[in-house]
């Protein structure tokens, strides 16, 4: 009987565990091995190349875009979620907001890039409209293909993602405490200063970190938008993989490991903060 149980375990769990090991765990571990291996065996030199000027610029750009777009997304998403929960909003409007958020949060990559090129690119519709009333945004220094442009484009999936993630926390806040504070004579400002924000802070922070990770790992959107001309870490890795630059595979692996480390730290923080959120849920 016992061996039949074992056989069932292997039959049911085996394919999944084997698949995940072969195509997720092994490739990831392999990157770390590759990043410290050169022709002459073990070496830390590929990892050291991350501190080369051009790769450092890529890391700085990636982090700058991700931090800015996480902040913009968190603020915009929190406001949108708050508005969508306001009492008196018709049911169809709420359904529209929630479905549209699911769509926009998943609408990233190449189509999103071209939607914004059609809108705010050098020949974009809005760019043209503004020009016709005398405002030339490109002459004023704006570019869709630089960091400020990426932040505007990323907001299109960051704001809806924030709305989806933060809505449960806001729903938990709304009901009793607001009324209790008001009945005790608290102003709106006092409510937010002493109750709303402190209670929401872990949720807001963890959601913001999630947005950071979401932007940091984005590849298709910036690649299609800038044609690979703005140095970002994912684009540097793609250049190594496509053989566009004379950089050794080990250095590409080192960059990929750098990304994984940043993401792992972000997700760890996210997990720790998300656990703190539970503190308020229990009551």
């Amino acid at each position: 009987m016992h061996w039949r149980e074992r056989a069932a375990d292997i039959l049911f769990l085996g394919p999944f565990l084997l698949f995940a090991t072969a195509f997720l765990v092994f490739p990831t571990l392999g990157l770390f091995v590759q990043a410290v291996t050169t022709k002459h065996g073990f070496s830390l030199s590929p990892l050291a190349t991350i501190w080369h000027d051009n790769h450092l610029v890529a890391f700085r750009n990636s982090i700058e875009v991700s931090v800015l777009s996480a902040l913009v997304g968190a603020l915009g998403g929190a406001i949108a979620a708050w508005l969508a929960l306001a009492p008196g909003l018709p049911r169809w409007a709420r359904a529209l907001v929630s479905t549209f958020s699911a769509v926009a949060a998943n609408f990233a990559g190449v189509p999103l890039a071209f939607a914004f090129i059609s809108t705010l690119g050098t020949l974009g519709v809005i760019t043209g409209l503004l020009k016709s009333i005398g405002i030339d945004i490109y002459a004023a220094g704006f570019s869709l293909f630089h960091i400020e442009g990426l932040v505007i484009v990323y907001a299109y999936f960051q704001i809806p993602l924030m709305l989806i993630v933060i809505t449960p926390a806001l729903e938990g806040l709304r009901r009793e405490w607001r009324e209790a504070a008001e009945s005790l004579g608290a102003s709106t400002w006092q409510f937010w200063r002493h109750i709303g924000l402190p209670v929401l802070l872990p949720s807001l922070l963890s959601a913001t970190i999630l947005l950071f990770g979401n932007a940091f790992s984005a590849f298709a959107t910036p690649y299609a938008l800038t044609a690979g001309n703005l140095p970002l870490v994912p684009i540097d890795i793609a250049n190594v993989l496509s053989g566009n630059v004379s950089v050794s595979p080990a250095q590409g692996a080192a960059l990929a490991c750098g990304m994984i480390v940043v993401m792992a730290v972000a997700m760890l923080l996210y997990g720790l903060l998300a656990r703190r959120v539970g503190k308020w849920r229990a009551r």
Binding site: F107, G252, M263
Partner: protein
């Protein structure tokens, strides 16, 4: 506070309107459906759309065949493995797609029948969809009384395959539908793996056409938005049906 809807609404509506306007632009000939007409008569567009659709279906089937038995067995018999399952299923969110491509291409360089055809993309796509498929299946199965269902089926003489196909799957229709539609949106829009591995999927084709024709790229972007919209509408409707 209500006025804030105006800038928010404008930010989300304007790119869609502008893309629609751009897709209808015909230069000196004013506005019309020229870009759409040309796309319909472009075999490469159809090939790429068909390839992406085929990959989406293959990914859905492969992902479910691997995951349904595993998540079922974990929930029923080995709940001690739950932390491992949770960890493995968030890994694809921690390892960026571009890093995973680097890792997979370094290890799997052959044989040609495996890595040489577009079907190879199904492997990474199952990984990319893993966090969402796993969550949907796990939530769906936790809502079921698996022990009673299994014992009832077995006492009636059902074998394991019969049990999974005729008892478990019908009880999971909503979860499976949600997982399938989400996988579909991921695969149809996926660019990272396909472009690095040089396969002409839908997203790769949009990017390619974008370098020559802004109007046709706009038309295809609008189509991609419509596909995402339809899939998410399906998820929302499925969820409402389940809530009843």
């Amino acid at each position: 506070m209500k006025w804030l809807w105006v800038p928010l609404g404008a930010y989300f509506a304007l790119p869609l309107v502008a893309t629609a306007v751009m897709s209808l632009w015909q230069g000196a000939h004013g506005y019309g459906f020229e870009a759409y007409a040309r796309l319909i008569h472009t075999p490469e567009m159809w090939h790429s759309l068909l390839l992406s659709t085929r990959l989406a279906i293959e990914t859905i089937i492969a992902g479910l065949v691997i995951l349904v038995p595993a998540v079922f067995w974990m929930n029923l018999r080995v709940p001690t493995l739950r932390p491992l399952f949770d960890f493995v299923s968030v890994l694809p969110l921690v390892v960026p797609a571009i890093s995973l491509v680097a890792g997979i291409t370094a290890i799997y360089t052959g044989p040609d029948w495996f890595v040489g055809t577009a079907n190879f993309l199904v492997v990474p796509y199952v990984i990319l969809a893993l966090p969402y498929t796993y969550r949907a299946l796990d939530v769906g199965m936790r809502a079921l009384d698996l022990r009673t269902l299994t014992e009832a089926a077995q006492s009636l003489g059902a074998s394991w395959p019969t049990m999974i196909l005729r008892v478990l799957v019908p009880n999971l229709v909503t979860a499976l539908l949600g997982a399938a539609l989400l996988t579909m949106t991921i695969v149809i829009g996926e660019f990272t793996f396909a472009s690095i591995l040089l396969f002409n999927t839908f997203a790769v084709y949009i990017n390619h056409i974008g370098s020559t024709s802004a109007t046709r790229a706009a038309a295809l972007s609008l189509l991609a938005f419509l596909i995402t919209w339809l899939a998410m509408l399906g998820v929302a409707l499925g969820g409402r049906r389940a809530a009843r």
